[in-house]
Every structure is written in structure tokens, then in C-alpha cells.
């Protein structure tokens, strides 16, 4: 690495890990919803944005980031539940394109709604006071908040994995991903599970938005670019498993971080070029389970 010290290299790796962690949360939500319901949630990025604004709202109300951390996934998840119940539910059994189109329209409505309430210009988001400043990781100084994001995401992903692997409900969700007809034949009301999983997925998007907010501020348009990036993660990693999302998310985070460091001009296009290369070498994605979800 030309002229790059070991410390700055490791710091850059760490930044990549942190960027990747936000992708991971979004990609897991997308995969969960798609895997079970075959719904591509185009509004996933908008729920991310909505989560950030809900955080802004709650922090403004209580002045406490930790209460928001509990409130945001509940509020965003609740909105997801309402959306599923009122709209998406009507489209089951129709062509896969319809839920995608519907959530596409929904993202316009939500973005415009947020603009109406909070204005078009966006606003900064204060880092919670306990997490301001750097922390010494031994090899480098690193902002406390970013370390917190990495740890928090790891905890969430682990909890989710335990939930899916160790609980009865998790078992039903995994079974539903394989063959929802068979699950229904066994006497389980799968539509209730779909309802729940849509709420879970959107809740995860909301928490990702809140976690990202102190690093980038909040803005009505922050969702769509995040959505496109998470689509790239999903294309690279496949929508088959949590671990696919984790590995692909972190990998993309590292690509963004490294390329931005070496060629700042290429920062925004790097992720797409990386995706094109993956498509050329492994058309079915890095962990391709071709056929299952295509």
C-alpha cells in the first residue's frame, strides 16, 4: 500500500466495518421480507429514513438517545405492520412485480410526508453525549460512537440469529422461507407470520436509520441512496441467509471505505463497479443459491 501507514490502514478497515454494519441491518431486513413473502420492499430505504426522523422526534421530546433506541424500532415496525395490513396483504398471489411497484409508490408518499412535517432541508443529529469523543483501541484512536454502532449491530444480528435458530417462531419463519404452502398445510396461519416479519424487517430498517443518523444527519432523501446500496449488497450476497447479508454487507463497506481513501473521486461509483465484477465472475452472487429466490 503506497505510503499508507499500518495505523491508517487499520483505521480505514475499521471505518469500512462500521459502514458495512449499517448495510448489514438493511440487507437482513430486505432478505427476511423477501425470503418469506417474496416481496421486494422498495420502501425499505424510506423506512430507514423514517427511523432516523423518529429518532430525531424522540430525542427532541425526551432528550434521551437510549429511549429513542427502544422507541424507533417499535414505531417503524408499527408503521410497517400497518402498511402490510392495509396494502401489501391485498397483493399476495399476484405477480411479484406488484408489491415492488406498490412499495415504490409508498416511498414517494412517505418521503413527501416527511418533507411536509419536518421540512425539505434535513437537519443534524447530535451524537449521544456518552459516546462523544474518541476511544483508544490500542492500535488507533477511533470515535466512540462508531465503535458503539459496530457493537450494537453485532448484538442485534446475534439476537436475531438466536431468535431464528432457537425459538419456535423462528423455526416457523425458517420453514416458511423454504415452503410456505407446506407450513400452511401443517395448520399454521402463515399470513400472521408474514405480517410479523414485515414489521420486524421494517423495524430493523428503522434502527439502522437511527444508528446512522448521528454520523450523517437526517434528510428526507437519505433513504433511496441507502436502498440502492443495500440492493447491491443483496445482489452480491444473495437473499438466502443472514450470514450472506453479513459478509456481503461488511465486504461492501470495506470496498467503499478503501476506494474512498485511495481514490476519493471513485468513492460513489466503486460499489457499482465491484458489483459488476462480481456479476462477471460469479453471476449468481458470492454465495449463490441460484434458483431458490430467482
Amino acid at each position: 500500500m503506497l505510503g499508507m501507514s499500518f495505523t491508517s490502514f487499520v483505521t480505514q478497515l475499521f471505518i469500512g466495518l462500521q459502514i458495512g454494519m449499517v448495510y448489514v441491518l438493511l440487507a437482513i431486513g430486505l432478505s427476511l421480507i423477501f425470503g418469506l413473502m417474496t416481496v421486494v420492499n422498495f420502501a425499505h430505504g424510506t423506512f430507514f429514513m423514517f427511523g432516523a426522523y423518529m429518532g430525531l422526534f424522540m430525542v427532541g421530546l425526551t432528550g434521551n438517545f437510549w429511549i429513542s433506541l427502544l422507541f424507533v424500532p417499535l414505531a417503524t415496525g408499527l408503521l410497517g405492520l400497518i402498511v402490510e395490513k392495509v396494502t401489501i396483504r391485498r397483493l399476495y398471489g399476484r405477480d411479484l412485480n406488484y408489491p415492488l411497484l406498490l412499495t415504490f409508490g409508498l416511498s414517494f408518499v412517505m418521503v413527501e410526508g416527511v418533507r411536509l412535517i419536518w421540512g425539505t432541508s434535513g437537519s443534524p443529529f447530535d451524537t449521544p453525549s456518552a459516546l462523544v469523543g474518541p476511544v483508544n483501541l490500542g492500535f488507533a484512536m477511533f470515535p466512540k460512537y462508531r465503535v458503539f454502532v459496530i457493537v450494537a449491530t453485532a448484538v442485534i444480528v446475534l439476537a436475531l440469529w438466536l431468535f431464528l435458530e432457537k425459538t419456535d417462531l423462528g423455526l416457523i419463519i425458517r420453514a416458511g422461507t423454504r415452503d410456505s404452502l407446506m407450513v400452511r398445510a401443517l395448520g399454521i396461519d402463515i399470513s400472521k407470520i408474514w405480517f410479523l416479519v414485515f414489521g420486524m424487517g421494517t423495524g430493523l430498517a428503522g434502527i439502522a436509520g437511527l444508528l446512522a443518523a448521528p454520523m450523517r444527519g437526517v434528510h428526507p432523501d437519505m433513504g433511496i441512496e441507502m436502498l440502492i446500496d443495500s440492493f447491491v449488497v443483496v445482489v452480491v450476497g444473495g437473499m438466502g441467509s443472514i450470514w450472506g447479508a453479513v459478509v456481503a454487507g461488511i465486504l461492501i463497506g470495506e470496498v467503499v471505505s478503501m476506494i474512498t481513501f485511495f481514490y476519493p473521486m471513485m468513492g460513489e461509483v466503486a460499489i457499482f463497479i465491484f458489483m459488476a465484477i462480481v456479476l462477471l465472475i460469479r453471476p449468481s452472487g458470492l454465495f449463490g443459491e441460484a434458483g431458490l429466490l430467482e
Binding site: 421486494v40 396494502t87 409508490g105 445482489v235 461509483v269
Partner: protein, 322 residues
């Protein structure tokens, strides 16, 4: 709709539609919006070669529209070409772009296709914004694109500056394009597209090279989307950066669904209604997207056939009853 042996001729209703377009600028509130409707109507019809006829949902047609706009704009600004050469260069850029993007996006099937088109369009957007901003004008877009006269050197030369003159120039191009698109869809190739839309696996087992056919449809779609983009650039003397932004892809999706993706002229009607609605709403409220998005959701839920498709169903149903 349906398969027919009409050959090169348009059906009576399509001829009526083209006749209607000759008086169209005198019906709408002002001529400029008629021009926009023709441009986006052409774009939506090009888009519908993929969505309505092949069943492929692309969220990245801004890339092709934008390539047409920037291609024509750069040719006219930097190479100082004539009008038709400029437009042709734009169309060529879009078709080649479609060939490249289509090659990558069709490597993954199903729902991944839409995600990939969106991603590649975003790639082009960022390339125009940062990497090639010296040539594209970056955030400001490509400005001061000239509008040369329609001319055959030494024979004649007619200026098409001015909304109404430009309208009839557009009209000729759109009518010809309609004819060509109809011809493509009525050909055996068009029938294969329908077969893929209805049942891809069966089309494959009939021996069609499904991926190749989809790719060709993508390039055709790119050709007409690029033509619309090139016309946009010469009409507005400008290739704005947002022609490449995802919102442009979003608009064409909405227009096509609103009008009716299962019909031939539906997308055109969708474009007209979308633009008139946007024009009307934006004088009343800043949040017109809220209403357009809401209306779009209602259509997806309750009228997935779109306005024209639903009307056609009604008429057909009445005919059957009589």
C-alpha cells in the same frame, strides 16, 4: 392487443390516435406541455417494450434516457453536428448503453433484475456527476445545446425553434416510432416476447434463447428511450443531471402503470395524465409527489390494468353483452 397479421399497417384505432395527436397541442393548456407529453409518451412506449410486453420491470431507464440526452447534447455542443446526426449519436449511445447494461442485468433473473437496473443507472448518474463532470457539466447539466434547423444541405432548411414548430417535428418522429414499435411487437419476435412474459420456462423449453431475446428487447427499449432523451435535450437546449437520476426511471414506471402496461397506447396516455396531473397539482401544492404517489398506489391495488386497460375491458365487456 393480441397477435394479428396486420403487417405494416396500423389498426384503425391507432390511426385515429395518430390523427388525434395532430390537433393535440390545441387541446392542452399550453403547447409546451404537449411537447413534453410526446417526448415522455415515446419514452414510456419504449419502456413498455420491456415491462408490458416482456414482463421485465426495470428501475433504471433513466440511464438510457440520460444517455440519449447527453449523447445528443455532447454531439451538438462539442462536435457541432447537424440535428439528425446529433439525435442519431444520442440514440446510438443509448442503444450501446442498453446493450452493456442489459448484458449485466440479465445475468440475474427475477427480482434481482430490477435492483441491478437501478444500480447501473445510479452508476451512470455518479459518473456524470463526478468523474466526467468536465464534459457533462456535472451538477449543472450540459447547457446551451443548440437546435439546428431541419435541413438537407443545398435543398432546404427549416427552423423548428418555437413550441408549435417543434411539436410537429416531434409528431413526425413519434408517429414513425409508433409504427416501428407496432411492427416489432406484431412480428414473430414480438410474439416470443409475449411468450416469455406469460411463461418464461415454457418459452425456454420451446427452444427459444430466452436470454438473447430479452437482451434484444432491452436494446430496442433503449433505442426508443434514448430517442426520447435526445429529443428532450434538443427541445430544452439542456441535458440536466436529473435525466440520469432514479426519479426519471420512477416517472416512466408510474406513467406506464397509470396508462396501462398491457396496452399499446396506454403508456402514452399515462404520460399525458401524469404530466397534466403534475402540472395541475404543482400549481396548488408543493407536495404534488404525495398525491401522485398515492394515486399510483391506488392504481396498483385496484386498477392494475391502468386507465386505458380498464377502459378497454369495460368497452369489451359491453360489446360482449350486446
Amino acid at each position: 392487443m393480441g397477435i394479428s397479421a396486420r403487417g405494416f399497417f396500423l389498426s384503425r384505432s391507432h390511426l385515429l390516435f395518430i390523427l388525434f395527436l395532430t390537433v393535440f397541442p390545441f387541446i392542452v393548456p399550453y403547447t409546451a406541455i404537449a411537447n413534453q407529453i410526446l417526448i415522455f409518451g415515446l419514452f414510456a412506449m419504449g419502456y413498455n417494450i420491456l415491462l408490458g410486453n416482456t414482463g421485465l420491470l426495470s428501475f433504471g431507464h433513466a440511464a438510457l434516457f440520460g444517455l440519449g440526452a447527453y449523447g445528443a447534447g455532447m454531439a451538438l455542443v462539442y462536435l457541432k453536428t447537424g440535428l439528425f446526426t446529433g439525435i442519431l449519436i444520442g440514440v446510438a449511445a443509448a442503444s450501446m448503453g442498453a446493450a452493456g447494461i442489459g448484458y449485466f442485468c440479465l445475468k440475474r433473473r427475477g427480482i434481482y433484475f430490477g435492483m441491478l437496473t437501478l444500480a447501473f443507472a445510479q452508476l451512470l448518474y455518479f459518473l456524470a456527476l463526478t468523474v466526467f463532470d468536465k464534459y457533462t457539466g456535472g451538477d449543472d447539466g450540459l447547457r446551451n445545446i443548440p437546435l439546428p434547423p431541419v435541413s438537407v444541405p443545398g435543398v432546404f432548411s427549416v427552423s423548428i425553434d418555437g413550441p408549435l414548430r417543434f411539436y410537429y417535428f416531434l409528431f413526425v418522429i413519434c408517429a414513425l416510432s409508433l409504427l416501428v414499435i407496432r411492427r416489432i411487437l406484431d412480428s414473430p419476435f414480438g410474439t416470443v416476447l409475449q411468450a416469455i412474459r406469460e411463461n418464461e420456462k415454457r418459452a425456454k423449453s420451446c427452444g427459444y434463447n430466452v436470454n438473447r431475446v430479452k437482451w434484444i428487447a432491452f436494446v430496442f427499449s433503449g433505442f426508443f428511450s434514448g430517442l426520447a432523451g435526445a429529443l428532450y435535450a434538443v427541445y430544452f437546449h439542456l441535458a440536466p443531471l436529473n435525466t440520469l437520476y432514479w426519479t426519471t426511471s420512477g416517472s416512466v414506471v408510474m406513467m406506464t402503470i397509470l396508462g396501462g402496461m398491457g396496452t399499446f397506447v396506454g403508456p402514452f396516455i399515462g404520460a399525458a395524465i401524469f404530466l397534466l396531473l403534475q402540472d395541475l397539482l404543482s400549481t396548488v401544492t408543493k407536495s404534488w409527489q404525495l398525491f401522485v404517489g398515492g394515486i399510483f398506489m391506488l392504481f396498483v391495488l385496484f386498477f392494475p390494468e391502468g386507465i386505458w386497460g380498464t377502459l378497454q375491458e369495460k368497452i369489451r365487456f359491453r360489446d360482449v353483452q350486446e
